[in-house]
Assembly symmetry: C2
Homo-oligomer: 386 residues x 2
């Protein structure tokens, strides 16, 4: 084992205690059991029920979004957000190369082509400076639409992602979206609880989306949400995600091609209980970050990612970034930590490196490529910070 | 109120007791609460967990399918089944006009066009005699593919549905699928527990699909399954529904455009408990049918739909069919029964009458149209037969 691998494994152990320790596990210390029992006792476990309404209201209150629509998962949320942002077959959607595959898949489901953008070393999200320079060189605005000069396709949406919970430079994104006539859809799958100034991520763009998968800060088993401040879009999101059925006492009539994307009441019950304890979980995740930052302060060639200035991060996945000079150590660190029972993982394979997305348009991705070789996510469950 | 409306309301009340009575409610009398608690205690509520594996194994055992893959809902199951049956953009898929919109939507998600087929007065499912005659007139087989002479498109799949749980004439469907080189995908969303001879619906075709929505015979909140006897297709179904991620200790690599369609462990826990009690529920639903059949025996102009000869139906939704001579009474019956607190509903609006599917190819749909004017589903919860 290399010195660096040994040193990193030792620091993780010092912070989180004895192995095995998972990368991210949920914690059910509140009303989860009683709400699930209530759900079963009422027999309302499925597409209708008070927990769905309550979870949507609670999410809207927590995030400050005017409308929150609970759905089956974050991928479904993105798919519908793209469709409602006007994405049609043949369009392009700008998304980070450094993201989970769901972002790219949702673009594909909407009939469009992902167009990959580079990252910022500091936020791990899309870099506004490089993106603006790139768009200046390849895009032009015609009749209110942004056209990719190389492909001839309309670039309809800019969909930055708040990586591992750290807010992207949202002001930079809003400015680019404005100047290039792009709809801004925030992929806030990882950033429930993360804010820019006083405002919650996912509420700056036309729409935002969240995920409540089992590995997220709060979980509904499987689940997601669509956020918007636009009443019409909020209603459209609910309609599209509930098979586009028209309200009627007994008739089953649907006025467009909709989706069976609603969140079952059973899952929403879990979500309501989880959301009640989100403030405590966020505080614990912040403490965990502080402990990691302290423990790694004297490990040369490493940094623990901190929230960007002016932002609060939910610290969903704690992230160790190796310096370029020691990036060749990454796999040894992954092997040593996992061998020792501390689950760690690298960044996702970058989107343009995946077989299904290899041929898609992309800007220079040198920062994302470099980060992809240097990121290591380390154990991050909120209870580790308690 | 008409005599017929009064008479029908009175018969329903006689069978199911005092109002209000829903159309179909789940029953949680087994291990539902303890399995959900176990799920929470284990913290495995999401995409991985022992209940998902067990639910899939239990479903395979119950249906006799060699492979069962649990997914988010019946729509997702159909979407993936169509894709795995070889459906590509520009194809046509034969589906009943008399079905829930999910069947048509799933065809659309797969990039294909639904092509609507007529019903059989007896089974309420696709009519093999009329379908064969129709295909003889519009379809030809070229190089092993069925081509629609009118549209020039390949008809790739025949997807009959087992309406309200009553098995379609599956031998007739298999014979047509064979002769016209169509893949057979059974939409068995409504027919868990329904058999043809000794064999379970959903296991005759290349693939079959099920639904465990809250209104189904058993429920997982939201859920569905894909059945197949083909090992390669079973593995492909699991891969595609779990984001097409390649197994690796820490890397996140995906080799094709997959879906986030897995069933969460929380929902599978409910499914395991529900499935344990399915035999009792089926027996109760059969008793309820017998009571309705007896109660309606002396109501002229009505029949309660019975399972087809040689089949056992799960009697998911009990179905009253009015004679054509009294079909003008339907809305009065719906109003009278619902006003009295007995929830009833007509058949779904036929697919070719929906705005999004109005322009799709279709055979003569006179039987489906007629049934659509005469079907009334009446209260069907299994506990009503206890």
């Amino acid at each position: 084992m290399s010195d660096m691998a040994r040193s990193i494994t030792e620091r993780i152990a010092r912070v989180v205690g004895s192995a095995p320790v998972a990368l991210h596990e949920p914690q059910f210390e509140g009303n989860e059991r009683s709400y699930l029992r209530e759900c079963i006792d009422s027999t309302f476990v499925s597409s209708v029920g008070k927990f769905v309404d309550r979870f949507e209201a609670d999410l809207a209150t927590f995030t400050g979004a005017r409308h929150a629509v609970a759905v089956a998962n974050g991928t479904a949320a993105l798919h519908v957000a793209f469709r409602l942002a006007g994405v049609v077959g043949g369009d392009e959607v700008l998304i980070p190369a450094l993201t989970f595959v769901a972002t790219a898949n949702a673009v594909t489901y909407a009939g469009a082509t992902p167009h990959f953008i580079d990252s910022d070393e500091r936020t791990l999200g899309a870099c506004p400076v490089a993106l603006r320079e790139y768009l200046d060189s390849v895009a032009e605005v015609h009749s209110g639409q942004c056209v990719n000069r190389k492909t001839g396709r309309v670039i309809r949406v800019l969909a930055p992602m708040h990586t591992f919970g750290h807010p992207v430079d949202i002001e930079g994104m809003l400015s680019i979206a404005h100047d290039f006539r792009l709809a801004l859809v925030e992929d806030a799958a990882e950033s429930l609880g993360s804010t820019v100034g006083a405002r919650h991520t996912g509420t700056f763009g036309l729409m935002g989306t969240s995920s409540f998968n089992g590995n997220k800060t709060i979980t509904t088993g499987g689940g997601g949400a669509i956020f918007t401040n636009d009443e019409t879009l909020g209603k459209r999101a609910k309609h599209l995600t509930t098979t586009a059925k028209l309200p009627h006492r007994w008739e089953y009539t649907h006025d467009e091609v909709g989706y069976n994307y609603r969140m079952p009441n059973l899952n929403a019950a879990l979500g309501c209980a989880q959301l009640e304890r989100l403030p405590q979980m966020l505080a614990a995740k912040r403490r965990l970050y502080e402990r990691y930052a302290e423990a790694f302060a004297d490990v040369p060639g490493t940094r623990i990612v901190a929230e960007p200035t002016g932002c609060r991060s939910n610290y969903w996945l704690q992230t160790l970034v190796l310096d370029p000079a020691v990036e060749h150590e990454r796999d040894a660190v992954l092997a040593a930590t996992n061998d020792a029972g501390y689950m760690t993982r690298p960044a996702w394979t970058l989107m343009h490196r995946l077989i299904p997305y290899a041929g898609c348009p992309a800007m220079n991705l040198s920062v994302a490529e470099s980060l992809g070789r240097r990121i290591i996510n380390i154990p991050s469950s909120s209870f580790l910070g308690c």
